[in-house]
Symmetry: C3
C-alpha cells in the first residue's frame, strides 16, 4: 500500500493526456495522491526523462513512480514494473527511462505487465500510459500483489542507457550538455571529482568553447560570485556541474542544446 | 455529494487564474479534490474545449465537471449547471462547451446560475470562473440542492456546436483537422465507419492533400508500423482517426491547423 | 496547524523544480495540501511575482504561502518567514516578493530562517526553494513554533518594492503596464479613483499612446461593450484598470510589455 504516485511524462499540459491518466488513477485508487514531477520532458526524449527521474527521486516520498516517455508504444518494447530494494516501485516502458533511477543491481524484482486484469478493458495501441501504466500504478498503490502483474523479468535484461563520460586531460575537459533548464542553465556530465582532477577551483578564470565560439567564465560557488552578465561554472543543486550567467540565460547566449559538447580550459589573460 | 471536481479551461498556467479558482473551491469545499484535465485549451477556443472535455469524460471519475472557455463573459450568454442522467454534473457557460459531453437528450435537469447565494459576494464582469462557476461547482460538490442554483433551463435551449461531418466518396475522403496535439498528431473528424466505407485498411498506401501539398502515407495500426519519418493514418486512442509521423511531428511538417481540410485518396505508384 | 500550502514560483513546469519541492513537502507533511497558484512568473521577475501573490491572496484559504522568485539565492539576501495579523504565514526570500501581500504594518512577527533544524540536511547554494523554503513551509504547516524558525527580524527592515504611481493630469493619464496575461490583456497601475479623477467613464472614446503609436479605444464595462476588434479600457476582475481587445490579443497588437508606459487621453473625432 502506497499513498503517493509520482508522475513524470513528456505529455505537456496543453492536451488532456496527463489529466485523463489522473482520472484513470482516481477511479481505481481514489485515496492515493498523484504528485506531478513534471510533464515537460521534450517529446519522446527518453534520456532527458531518465536523467530527470533519477535526480528527483531522492527528494520524493517512497511511492509508486509512474514515468512515461514512450516513443515505441504499440511496438515491441516491454511494459514493466520494478520493485527496488528500497521499497520504491517503478512503472513504465522498458526503454531505459526507469533504469537510471533503478539500476539492475538495486532491483529486487521486475515484472512484465502482461496480466490484463490490471489494465483498462480496452487497450489502445498508442496510449499505454492511460490504458496500462496508470491503471497498473493505481492497482499497485492499493496493494495488488507485485508478482501478479505479469511474467517475471530478469533485471539484467532491462534496457539501460549510458550517460556520456567526460574526458579529462591536462589541457582541458571535454564535457557534454545533459540538459538546459528554464533559466537557461546548462547541466553538464561533470561531478566534483572531474573538476578536481583537472584542477580548477572557485575563483579561477576559465574558457568555455562550444563548437568554435569561445567564452570566458569564472569558476564560482553561487550566482552572486560572478559579475552580472558573466558566465560561471558551478556545482549545481543536484551535485552536477553547470554553466550559468549571473542574471541571464546561458542557453540563449550560447545556443547550446542537450547533447552538445563543451570544452573547458584554463584562461590565460 | 461529490469528492471530485474536474477542471478544464483556456487559462494557461502562466497567470494565477486557475490557481485562484482552486483557492475559491478550497475555501468552500476543503475536502474536495480538484483534478485538472487541462488548462491548455487555446484562448477562447470553445470548440476545442468541447471536444477535449467530451473525449476525456469516460476516463474521469463521476463528479462535478467544471469547464470554462468563455469569450462571452459579462455579455448575454447564460451561466448554467447540467445534471446528466449518469449522475455527472457540469458547470460552465452556455456556449456549447458542455453539450458535446452532455448532449440535451442525456440531460436530466439544467439550471441557470441565477441564485447569487452560491456566487462570491462581489461578482466581476470578466472573471466568472472565479466568481460564479468555481463557487457553484464547490457548493454542488458539498451537497447543495441542484434545483436551488437558479431558474430551470430547458435542455433543448442549450447552445450546441456541430462537429463537421466528413464527405466520403469513391474517389476519396474530405476530412477536417479537429485538433493538433503536443506531438504534432492531427486528429480528424473520422471514425472507423468512414474509413471502412471508403475501403482502405492497414498496409494500404494513401495520398494526403492539405491545400495543394500532397503527401504519401500509409494506413497503420501503430507508429511502429510505419518507417521512421513516414506519415501514417491510424485509429487513435480515443477512437478517432489521426495523422502522425513515425518519430516526428506531423503538425510541423504539414503546417496543418484545427479547421483545415485534408483530402485522403488512394496512392497509385 | 495549517492544512494548505499555496505555492507560487518562477520555476515553470518544464523542469522538475516545482515537483521536487512538492516531494520535499510531502515527505515532511504528508497530510498537507499543496495548492499551486502559478509557476509561470517570468524568470527572476520579483515584481511580477509580488503583484500576482498580492492579488491572489484574498481568494486563497488561510495557510502557509510559499513563494519563491529568488535571483539572489546563495548571496546575501535573507530567507524569511512572516506571520501576518490575519493568521496567514508567508515563506520566501526577503527581496520584496512577500511584502506587497504582507506589508510591514500588517505583520505580527517575522523570523529569519536561520535554524537549520527545519532545512534539508544538505543545503545547496542555488536551490533554497527545495532545501530551505519548502521544508520550512511544511514544518510550519505541521505546527512547528514560528519563533523556533530563527532569529527575529524587524518587519520594518524587510525589503519592499514600489508599484509605480500613475500621473493624472487634465490632459491625460500616464500609466504603466504592470502585467500582460495569457489573453494579451494589459493590466495597468490604475484604479477607479484615478480614472474618476481624470473624468472618463464607460462609453467615452479615448486615445491610447504606447511610445509613438496611437490607438483609439473605448471605456467599457465588459468585453462585449466594445465592437469585435476594438480596444477597450475596463476595470478588471482584480479591481485594476486594464486594456484589452474584444475577441483579440492587445499584447500582440501593441507589443506592450510589463514596465511600458501608456498615455491615456480623450479622443476628439
Amino acid at each position: 500500500m502506497y499513498d503517493t504516485i509520482t508522475f513524470l511524462t513528456d505529455f505537456g499540459l496543453r492536451d488532456d493526456f496527463a489529466g485523463v491518466c489522473r482520472g484513470v488513477i482516481r477511479r481505481i485508487a481514489p485515496d492515493v495522491h498523484v504528485l506531478d514531477i513534471t510533464h515537460g520532458i521534450s517529446p519522446q526524449a527518453v534520456n532527458e526523462g531518465a536523467l530527470m527521474l533519477a535526480r528527483s527521486i531522492p527528494y520524493l516520498p517512497r511511492g509508486v513512480h509512474l514515468a512515461v516517455v514512450d516513443p515505441g508504444v504499440g511496438g515491441g518494447r516491454r511494459a514493466v514494473a520494478i520493485r527496488a530494494r528500497d521499497g520504491r516501485l517503478y512503472v513504465g516502458p522498458d526503454n531505459g527511462l526507469l533504469t537510471l533511477a533503478a539500476p539492475p543491481e538495486t532491483i529486487e524484482e521486475a515484472r512484465g505487465l502482461t496480466n490484463s486484469r490490471y489494465h483498462l478493458e480496452n487497450v489502445s495501441r498508442t496510449f499505454h500510459a492511460r490504458d496500462v501504466f496508470a491503471p497498473v500504478a493505481a492497482h499497485l498503490a492499493t496493494g495488488v500483489e507485485f508478482a501478479d502483474l505479469g511474467e517475471e523479468v530478469d533485471p539484467e535484461t532491462l534496457v539501460t542507457i549510458g550517460v556520456p563520460e567526460p574526458v579529462v586531460a591536462t589541457g582541458g575537459i571535454r564535457a557534454t550538455v545533459l540538459a538546459v533548464d528554464r533559466f537557461g542553465n546548462l547541466q553538464l556530465n561533470l561531478v566534483r571529482a572531474h573538476v578536481a582532477e583537472f584542477g580548477i577551483e572557485p575563483g579561477d578564470r576559465i574558457e568555455l568553447r562550444f563548437e568554435l565560439d569561445p567564452y570566458y567564465a569564472v569558476v564560482a560557488e553561487t550566482y552572486e560570485d560572478a559579475r552580472r552578465g558573466e558566465l560561471l561554472l558551478y556545482e549545481d543543486s543536484y551535485g552536477a556541474y553547470a554553466i550559468a550567467i549571473s542574471g541571464g540565460d546561458a542557453g540563449n547566449l550560447t545556443g547550446a542544446r542537450p547533447g552538445d559538447e563543451v570544452r573547458i580550459g584554463r584562461a590565460y589573460d
